[in-house]
């Protein structure tokens, strides 16, 4: 009997894997993924080609042409220092895309690892992990950030560290709760009952299903972290001025938002476009991995 079940299980899972492979190419043609990917690609190209795209220097102060509204010379207008806003937005792509990506990697890895272990083993592993989550979650993140900036000096590194220390809990809790659900499903109990090893079960059955929401989340989180920089700049905890970082531009333009909207709104638009691209990619990834069109 046991052997029959095992065979059936093995058959079923190879079948699934095979279908996945076959579907993968088809799935990559997912509309969300294509649109999101294209926008992101364009943004990356812009970032790479930044110095050659406009005739201006993002840091050059030119008081004579301060506060010009968008026009032919300056399609995005100029800021209070006469710097070309478009140039700064273009150069900002270099800082912000990189910052968003760097920021998301460590919390994702930490969170997925801790969440998986906690969710699958439960018991003490779970208790310890969840108390760690409690500590982090109940700890005021801004205080840590102020501490880091005070000790290490201003810059994006503080944001990376703070995000790594705080954002993992989202992934950890998500993956843990999904694994709780998954591991009680029939296919897992079946695999367990035939003595499959823990890591094999995790890797083959539980993990792929549980990690989907995390991936979807991670893609969107890149945009979130880029957005976070604006808030940090408002509090003076962001990138060192005068770097053309989008969030810093939005924050610095806030006192002008009624009189010279373009200083803050257009870098803000850049953040929004990036955010849309990334969330499309996130949703697309979700579609593909979930294979819900099968």
């Amino acid at each position: 009997m046991a052997a029959d079940v095992a065979d059936a299980g093995a058959l079923a899972s190879t079948a699934v894997v095979r279908t996945r492979r076959n579907q993968l190419l088809k799935q990559l043609a997912n509309k969300n993924l294509i649109i999101g990917g294209t926008i992101l690609l364009i943004l990356i190209l812009i970032a790479l080609l930044a110095p050659w795209l406009t005739p201006y220097d993002p840091l050059e102060v030119d008081p004579q042409s301060a506060l010009q509204s968008p026009g032919l010379d300056h399609p995005f207008g100029t800021d209070n220092f006469g710097r070309d806003v478009l140039t700064r937005v273009i150069h900002g792509a270099r800082i912000d895309l990189r910052a968003g990506l760097i920021a998301v990697i460590s919390p994702f890895i930490i969170g997925v690892l801790i969440g998986t272990i906690a969710g699958f083993y439960g018991g003490w592993a779970d208790t310890i992990a969840m108390r760690a989550v409690d500590i982090v979650q109940a700890f005021p993140g801004l205080v840590l950030l102020i501490f880091l900036v005070s000790v290490l000096g201003p810059g994006l590194n503080n944001m990376y560290i703070a995000v790594a220390m705080f954002a993992w809990i989202v992934y950890a809790r998500l993956i843990r709760s999904t694994i709780f659900v998954e591991k009680n499903k029939e296919y897992v109990t079946a695999a367990k009952s035939i003595g499959g090893s823990d890591w094999r079960i995790i890797g083959k059955h539980v993990f792929p299903n549980a990690v989907i929401p995390c991936l979807v989340f991670a893609a969107t989180d890149v945009a979130l972290y880029i957005g976070l920089l604006a808030g940090l700049s408002y509090l003076g905890l962001g990138e060192r001025p005068p770097a053309p970082e989008w969030g810093a531009m939005v924050a610095a333009g806030q006192p002008f938002m009624v009189t010279a909207w373009w200083i803050s709104a257009l870098p803000g638009a850049a953040i929004v476009v990036t955010g849309i691209a990334l969330s499309l990619i996130g949703d697309g990834l979700g579609d593909v991995l979930r294979m819900d069109d099968r």
């Binding site: 050059e60 005070s150 003076g236 001025p241 806030q254």
Partner: protein, 598 residues
């Protein structure tokens, strides 16, 4: 470049006001000879003085006979030609109360409640313990001292003391108390209150300000209406110290009954208002002191000062008519001033202020800090600053040039020092002559989240780049900045200075002496400057003091660790119907004369 004067002329001050202000300054001249032994003007003068003097365009207020402790005519110099014009009229000092704003505006409307927004709240209202401008500027509405500084912050006038005598050696001050002065609870002020308050201010270990009264060795009351203060050493700034907020006279009985802690969030002084309610970080509600001694004042029943940190929100509320005004030091960003000035419903006051903006370099604290220990490098940096451009880009024209360490228009400000030139060629030349022709990195510590400092740092970075100084901008919180300053771990700092006392002894003591602040942690010391500042503190002849302070300013400007960026007015934007509001050059608000024409 628009100077304050031009802006004032264009926008909110009438020429008559100018003449009046100039007149006040000019009055200093005839008063000189009498000044040390001087006693205060009489009650009439004071009533006159407080009856609605305002910087708003409508008011046409005559000056009062102010007792001036200095011969410093120079304060008027910044007021350009009008000052001289006014001086001629000054010989006739009106003795009687003069018509007030009422003449121009119809009858003063009594009562009502006014609400004003500002960007930050007080932290505690004990006059002795507080240390922030946002607190101090309101404390003056609740408390009074024996004397007070006049509206131009160049002279001392009577307050609780209606007159005073000074002994020939300058060591004994005798104050004659005004009869019938009452606290906000109706109890009569006595000499006991005065002695208790001043001794508390002098002896408090927690007060950052106890040094101002350190010389007051003995405070006694020979009779029920006289206070005699014997100084341990001659102190030319003593009257100015007595006029400060920490010398506020507090009701001793009130504190004895309720404990000293009560002063943190209650008031019991003789000021025109008392602290009725304080919702921390939300609002401060002042209510009329029914027993206030100046007849007919204050006009308002209540003043509510609301904290709104975001300037966009504050201005929206002003434009939407939800509040009567936005006041304070930095409540209105400079880029919004022109827009508000063009609004016919809003009256923008650019009040003359002792608000001087510097860049401070660390030359040698705690040890030489190359390249800034090199005078040539500092001079090159000074020449490389395009001051007019700073005023345009950072201040949006809302500032005038600053020339010396003593704020424009303040007591003993040296008017003979011209504004620093911007000359890039000369800057490069000086740099080449220096020991560090290649320049170097300079870290500037700015207050995190302060848009003005950030803008200034960015502008300076671009200017100093031209001479090879690479400015690295570090936004940090103020506690870190203080800590790093105390450790000498900085190259450049930006910051404004507002005088807390009218006498320059405070600012010069802070920057040029090792005693309290270690030369303001700049590492720049100069024996001649030190000698002069110390001598001026005890010099009782105002003319000699002036000479000394003029020289100090020259040396310090030429060799010192400061770059004088600009001098900024206080910006108060009020609904047109708000009348009589003024702001003192040291910052306190003139709610006492404010009324609502609606």
């Amino acid at each position: 470049m628009a100077t304050i004067d031009e802006l004032l002329l264009k926008n909110s001050l009438s020429r008559r006001d100018f003449a009046r202000r100039a007149l006040g300054l000019a009055l200093a001249a005839p008063a000189v000879s009498a000044l040390l032994a001087a006693c205060g003007g009489d009650d009439d003068d004071d009533d006159d003085d407080d009856s609605g003097e305002s910087t708003s365009a409508e008011s046409a207020q005559e000056p009062t006979a102010t007792v001036v402790i200095s011969a410093d005519m120079s304060g008027a110099a910044t007021q350009t030609a009008e000052a001289e014009a006014g001086a001629g009229e000054a010989t006739e000092v009106p003795d009687e109360p003069t018509p007030t704003t009422a003449a121009a505006d119809g009858e003063i409307k009594e009562g009502g409640s006014a609400s004003f927004i500002r960007d930050s709240d007080a932290d505690l209202y004990d006059p002795v313990l507080n240390d922030s401008n946002s607190t101090i500027w309101l404390v003056f509405s609740m408390y009074q001292s024996l004397v007070r500084s006049d509206r131009t912050a160049t002279g001392i006038e009577p307050a609780i003391a209606e007159s005073w005598d000074i002994s020939d050696d300058g060591l004994v001050y005798t104050f004659h108390l005004r009869p019938g002065v009452k606290f906000a609870d109706g109890s009569e002020l006595s000499t006991e209150d005065v002695i208790w308050s001043l001794e508390r201010a002098r002896d408090s270990e927690e007060s950052p300000w106890s040094f101002t009264l350190a010389n007051a060795a003995d405070i006694t009351a020979p009779d029920d209406s006289t206070i005699e203060i014997t100084l341990s050493a001659g102190d030319a700034a003593f009257l100015a110290a007595v006029s400060m907020f920490n010398s506020s006279i507090i009701s001793k009985a009130y504190v004895e009954e309720n404990g000293e802690d009560i002063l943190k969030d209650h008031s019991m002084g003789t000021g025109p208002f008392y602290l009725k309610e304080w919702a921390v970080s939300e609002y401060t509600l002042l209510a009329r002191n029914e027993y206030y001694w100046e007849e007919g004042l204050p006009h308002l029943d209540e003043v509510k000062v609301i904290t709104v940190p975001d300037s966009n929100s504050a201005i929206l509320q002003l434009q939407g008519g939800e509040v009567d005004g936005v006041i304070g030091q930095i409540s209105i960003p400079y880029n919004r001033v022109a827009e508000l000035q063009s609004d016919p419903d809003i009256n923008v006051i650019l009040a003359t202020a002792s608000y001087n903006y510097f860049a401070r370099v660390n030359t040698a604290f705690p040890e030489p800090n190359p390249p800034f220990d090199d005078l040539k490098v500092r001079q090159a940096m000074a020449y490389a600053i395009d001051y007019d451009q700073l005023i345009e880009t950072v201040q949006f024209g809302i500032a005038e040039r600053s020339t010396t360490i003593i704020p424009n228009g303040a007591l003993y400000h040296n008017p003979n020092i011209p504004p620093h030139e911007f000359d890039l060629d000369k800057a490069k030349e000086l740099m080449a002559e220096s020991e560090h022709p290649d320049g170097g990195d300079a870290e500037v510590l700015i207050s995190a989240g302060n848009p003005q400092q950030e803008a200034l740092a960015i502008a300076l970075q671009a200017m100093w780049k031209e001479i090879g100084i690479n400015l690295i901008i570090s936004p940090l919180d103020n506690a870190v900045i203080r800590d790093r300053t105390n450790a000498g771990d900085y190259d450049v700092r930006l910051g404004g200075w507002t005088n807390d006392m009218i006498d320059p002894d405070q600012i010069l003591g802070y920057f040029t002496l090792p005693d309290a602040s270690d030369y303001a942690k700049t590492g720049y010391s100069n024996p001649r400057v030190e000698e002069l500042v110390r001598a001026a503190k005890t010099e009782l002849d105002p003319e000699k003091r002036q000479e000394m302070y003029y020289e100090v300013q020259e040396i310090y400007r030429e060799e010192g660790p400061l770059f004088y960026l600009f001098s900024i007015p206080y910006i108060d934007a009020l609904q047109n119907y708000v009348k009589g509001f003024w702001q003192h050059p040291l910052g306190p608000y003139g709610f006492v004369d404010t009324w609502l024409d609606k």
